[in-house]
């Protein structure tokens, strides 16, 4: 019996050894299969290849210039627009070398750059531009003002065309600088070629880059467009790798598999920043962002209709502490709805409530709220001041910590804040439709939508719905004046008045200004941030050295 068991034990050992041997052989085989890839990699590295991490697939097979599919970052690399969004929203020439606006602000005449061709060699002329717009601009599902207010678009001659609108609206030009759907694509990008109703078949534009290869959900390889009209890029090839997980992006940087990670192409987790800072092979760069996080007051809530209460909430929040203590110094102290990177925001018109819990308590007392029963929560007419704050974590993980800090800070002045964490769909449903909140955390849109489009979306009523964030007739009138103004000085004065009005009425609570962050490895030099979310990096200037 004992003998038998020993035999079976020996058999077991033999079997384990056999398994190990098989595993070793398999391992050796897999090494053999991956070796050729490595050699091809070293060959191409002399050709200066830059590898960049991206959160999701670029969707090249659907990257129609006139649609909202695929990556807008890649859209802006392949396709050019008539005008581009420069620093602080300055509109700079793109395919249009110059333009004139009629006295009443309704007719725009664009003069196209001469001698521009698409990457397939076709000429880019007024006819091609009109073709590009005609493909989508009459679609009623489109909400851009250049589409809804358009009366006519016509080619005048080879290099001139006009757009006629039914009203004056200064951000028409800003809309023309967007990543989509306003960019110009080659008539050969559709089938049948040049047919306005043709089906999109391939991404062909006049931009600095064109597609070399694409594997869904894995990578997109871009190479310089040989016909490009502007300065040629320094890099021979850009590989965009899909890495959905933020921690994995950091590891891909550390292992040297990617050269650049960060910005809106694929954010880096704040908690990993010390790791990147501690790595000698990596460099961490940051730039002031264009959006902000803030808290919307529900105007239907009685307590919040009192200006003193809104001011008290603002004064209770320590905006500097959010940056220093919660975000490890990443970002900036919020001083209003828009940071200074946004057009029309100046040092003088950016004015907001600081941190002063003592004054906040006095304001609450002025509004009639006192803590009569001594439970730490103030009340008025026997009703305790309890507010619920709706927030979500899926898109903005930092909101949980920010919400908890504000809960503590509001408790300090006697307001009982209840946090209500929702999944994104329920959160947006509360924000846009059901209004089931007292306070809700939200963020402003990015760059080109600011400030006009964001103000119109959140602080201006539409034909059938009241304003989302706060209803104020005076503010709505000011917003209308600003966006319809053709005079720059008048427009600036109106924006000054808008920001002043928001401050006086404490129409929202300022919370946090985030930052753009990127990590690059030592191979990369001359890195420069772009001026808009859809062009986070100035690709043309990048240089790549040896590994």
């Amino acid at each position: 019996m004992n003998n038998m068991l020993n035999r079976s034990r020996r058999l077991f050992l033999a079997w384990v050894l056999l398994t190990l041997a098989i595993a070793l052989v398999l391992g050796a085989c897999s090494n053999a299969t991956t070796r050729p890839e490595e050699t091809s990699e070293t060959a191409s590295s002399e050709q200066t290849t830059l590898t960049v991490a991206m959160t999701s697939d670029a969707g090249i097979d659907q990257l129609d210039a006139g649609a909202y599919n695929g990556s807008m970052h890649v859209q802006a690399m392949i396709y050019d627009s008539l005008v581009e969004y420069g620093e602080k929203g300055e509109i700079v020439p793109g395919l249009a070398e110059s333009w004139e606006i009629s006295e009443d602000g309704t007719v725009y005449t664009f003069h196209l750059r001469q001698g521009v061709t698409f990457s397939d060699g076709l000429a880019l002329n007024a006819e091609a531009v009109v073709f590009s717009f005609e493909r989508w601009i009459h679609d009623p599902a489109n909400s851009l003002q250049i589409a809804t207010a358009l009366e006519a678009i016509e080619a005048v001659d080879e290099h001139t065309f006009t757009m006629t609108f039914n009203k004056a609206y200064y951000p028409f030009l800003t809309e023309l600088s967007f990543a989509r759907p306003v960019r110009i694509l080659s008539p050969s990008a559709v089938e049948p070629a040049g047919d306005v109703n043709g089906e999109f078949i391939q991404a062909v534009g006049s931009g600095a880059w064109m597609v070399e290869s694409y594997v869904r959900d894995r990578e997109t390889i871009l190479v310089p467009n040989p016909h490009y009209w502007g300065e040629a890029p320094e890099v021979d090839r850009i590989v965009l790798k899909v890495i959905p997980d933020p921690q994995s992006r950091v590891m891909a940087l550390q292992s040297g598999e990617v050269d650049i990670a960060g910005t809106q192409l694929g954010r880096l987790p704040v908690e990993s920043l010390p790791v990147i800072e501690g790595d000698d092979a990596l460099e961490l760069l940051s730039a002031e962002g264009t959006n902000s996080h803030f808290m919307i007051f529900n105007p239907a809530v009685t307590a919040l209709q009192d200006l003193h209460v809104r001011q008290a909430v603002n004064l209770a929040i320590n905006k500097a502490s959010i940056v220093e203590d919660l975000m490890d110094g990443v970002g900036h102290e919020a001083k209003g709805l828009f940071p200074l990177t946004v057009p029309y925001v100046t040092e003088t018109n950016q004015q907001w409530y600081g941190y002063d819990p003592e004054e906040a308590r006095q304001l609450l007392a002025k509004a009639g709220y006192t803590d009569a029963d001594g439970d730490g929560v103030v009340e008025k007419d026997g009703q305790p001041l309890t507010l619920n704050l709706v927030l979500q974590q899926a898109e903005f993980p930092e909101w949980k910590a920010i919400g908890e800090l504000m809960q503590y800070e509001l408790q300090e002045i006697g307001i009982d804040l209840k946090l209500q964490m929702l999944e994104p769909n329920s959160y947006y449903d509360a924000l846009w439709t059901t209004k089931a909140y007292d306070l809700i955390l939200y963020r402003t849109y990015d760059d080109a939508y600011n400030p006009h489009s964001f103000l119109l979306s959140l602080f201006r009523k539409t034909a059938d719905t009241p304003a989302v964030a706060w209803s104020d007739r005076e503010l709505e009138a000011l917003i209308d004046t600003a966006v319809g103004s053709t005079d720059l000085e008048e427009r600036q004065a109106t924006y000054d008045a808008i920001f002043a009005r928001m401050y006086e009425q404490a129409m929202f609570a300022a919370v946090y200004y985030p930052e753009e962050i990127v990590a690059v490895n030592q191979r990369v030099s001359d890195f420069a941030f772009g001026h808009s979310t859809f062009r986070p990096i100035l690709w043309q200037e990048l240089k790549v050295g040896d590994r």
């Binding site: 035999r7 034990r9 384990v16 009623p140 909400s143 809804t148 598999e257 939508y449």
Partner: protein
């Protein structure tokens, strides 16, 4: 007899699939959020009421829920799972494109789990109380309590960043499957180590084993063709359930290892409220679960003659 059994089993599948798809369709429509509005807002612009109404018509959301469900069923009969709201791509081909990656990972995970569990499970049963048994217990405990994303990140850090043995991301070359398969496999292995150990110990103490030994059968034959065969039956049932869930994809593992599988596709669709994709995914999963269960039952029929008699 066998053919009748098979037809009977497949016949049961149809009402199950109908029920699952109807329930998931209804549940999707009960959750908050309008797909048309979500889609337009994803573009970053405040959509006009007209734009939302137009989009609802294009997506077919203006029809009643039963109408929408019926047209989905009619399409399904032509093996068409519809067009995704958010990407505009056909759901069937999207699922089919991602399924091989998920299936490969599932296979790798099962292989990894078995490579860990079989030797440790059998070894623990043959040497109860030994260091091998204690190691098996330790690994089983770690496997059950370690979160997958943490193990994944650890493996990635040491295997790919520090030792540079494996790539950090993607599905390229045979080496890229090792870490994700190991992560998933480790999470599964623990329970099998304990199951195999307990069942094998029980079988080895049974009279038929003594009889076989008395008959003079070689020990390897006693273990491999008698004791082990009976000992793995409970594991097989569990394996069936786990295979089905592996084939549904794992969003965490796929994200960490940039694996282009089906799990992340499904979760993204849930956030975008892409009814059509979710519906297609639920349907595919239902088919897979039913098929895997059927296969497991058939394998058990092969392994256990007692079942065949019934």
């Amino acid at each position: 007899m066998f053919a009748r059994y098979l037809i009977q089993r497949i016949g049961q599948v149809i009402p199950v699939l109908l029920g699952i798809s109807a329930i998931s369709f209804l549940l999707m429509h009960l959750t908050p959020g309008d797909p048309a509005e979500i889609m337009l807002r994803a573009d970053g612009i405040q959509p006009t009421q007209e734009a939302i109404a137009m989009t609802r018509i294009t997506l077919g959301l203006d029809r009643s829920i039963p109408e929408q469900y019926l047209s989905w069923l009619v399409q399904l009969l032509q093996l068409d799972l519809g067009i995704s709201y958010s990407s505009g791509r056909p759901v069937m081909s999207e699922l089919m494109m991602r399924f091989p990656a998920t299936a490969l990972l599932a296979g790798g995970a099962l292989a990894a789990a078995m490579l860990i569990a079989l030797p440790l499970g059998i070894g623990s049963a043959l040497y109860p109380g030994s260091w091998l048994d204690r190691l098996g217990r330790l690994i089983a405990m770690a496997s059950a309590s370690m979160p997958g994303y943490w193990l994944g990140l650890l493996l990635l850090y040491y295997g790919a960043v520090k030792l540079k043995l494996f790539p950090v991301m993607g599905m390229e070359g045979a080496r890229s499957i090792v870490l994700p398969a190991l992560t998933l496999g480790c999470g599964m292995a623990g329970i099998y180590i304990r199951l195999i150990r307990a069942n094998l110990l029980e079988e080895l103490g049974k009279l038929y084993v003594t009889a076989a030994r008395a008959k003079g059968l070689p020990e390897w034959q006693i273990i491999s063709s008698h004791a082990l065969r009976n000992a793995v039956l409970p594991s097989l049932t569990l394996l069936g359930i786990q295979t089905a869930s592996l084939l549904g994809g794992s969003v965490i593992i796929e994200s960490i290892f940039s694996w282009p599988g089906i799990g992340k596709y499904a979760v993204d669709a849930i956030f975008a409220k892409d009814y059509i994709v979710i519906q297609g995914y639920v349907f595919m999963m239902a088919v897979i679960v039913v098929m895997v269960n059927l296969i497991v039952d058939l394998i058990q029929l092969l392994l256990d003659p007692r079942l065949r008699l019934r």
